[in-house]
Amino acid sequence: KGRRAQRLKSRDCVLSEIHLNVTDLGLGYTTKEELIFRYCSGSCETAVTLYDQILNNLTQNKKLVSDKIRPQPCCRPIAYDDDLSFLDDDLSTYHILRKHSAKKCGCV
């Protein structure tokens, strides 16, 4: 049982990071600068609340019919990383990215 709990935990919502070129972000900037992009991924199964359980029950016994209801929390940023600035390849324009990268994740 202990091992199973651990396996579940390892899939839990966590902060991950990847080293990228700014151009990889697909935002249309021309620069050779780079960044660490941090994102949230993992499951929120273990974070189900009574609210989620009720929603689940209501959709299953058809008291609520909507495809826009999400009966499980999502792994999302609950705080963002500091701003990122970089110099454009024109060597005269600076750009600043705000709230572009996660700092803390949570099941919300």
Binding site: H19, K32, D83, F86, L91, Y94
Partner: protein
């Protein structure tokens, strides 16, 4: 890929900065006020200067000097180096004051006065010394020079092909004080101690200090 990469040390330094949480944070903390236009002005110079001082106060020299004193072989590199302090806001102004007048303005401010004194002490050239410096300590000279960034004496690189630097002033209309003014200006523009210190950092050759 060429076998011998020409490289751009200033770009490499900028990349390294953004991969370091402290450097990234304080870099955008000065880029923001230095590029944010306010009511007809290109930026809020006071806020830009303050954030630049914080950058050089808080960020380890490995990163801050890496961007300011990177060694270059082409214009893409030297222009990036010149842009480090966002000169359009922190350096350039509508008018160029006389350097001695600027020095007087500097002396009315506690931070500027002490940092200028440090610069004159720690970057004093001495042609008979191997290091070209009277104090024989490049680290102290670079610290004193970078300390001026964010004061009215903020210096920057003047051109692409050498390490000549100067604050935003000249020696026009100096009258009888022309020699004193040129002496002041040349301490920046033509300072063998400062140039050697910058070169040694850029090439990583100052084994005594780094």
């Amino acid at each position: 890929e060429p076998v011998i990469s020409k490289g751009n040390n200033c770009l490499d330094a900028a990349k390294a900065c953004n991969l370091n949480d402290i450097c990234k944070k304080y870099r955008s903390a000065y880029i923001t006020p230095c590029t944010y236009s306010v009511s007809n002005e290109i930026c809020n110079k006071r806020k830009c200067h303050k954030a630049l001082r914080q950058f050089f106060d808080k960020v380890p020299p490995k990163h801050s000097y890496g961007m300011l004193f990177c060694s270059c072989r082409d214009i893409a590199c030297t222009e990036r180096r010149r842009q480090t302090i966002v000169p359009a806001c922190s350096y350039e102004d509508r008018e160029k004051p006389n350097c001695l007048n600027l020095q007087e303005t500097c002396k009315t401010n506690y931070i500027c006065r002490s940092r200028l004194a440090d610069f004159f002490t720690n970057c004093q050239p001495e042609s008979r010394s191997v290091s070209n410096c009277l104090k024989e300590n490049y680290a102290d000279c670079l610290l004193a020079y970078s300390g001026l960034i964010g004061t009215v004496m903020t210096p920057n690189y003047l051109n692409y092909n050498n390490l000549s630097v100067a604050p935003w002033c000249d020696c026009g209309s100096s009258g009888n004080d022309i020699e004193e003014c040129l002496k002041f200006l040349n301490f920046f523009q033509d300072n063998s101690c400062l140039k050697s210190a910058i070169q040694a950092f850029g090439n990583g050759t100052d084994v005594n200090v780094w």
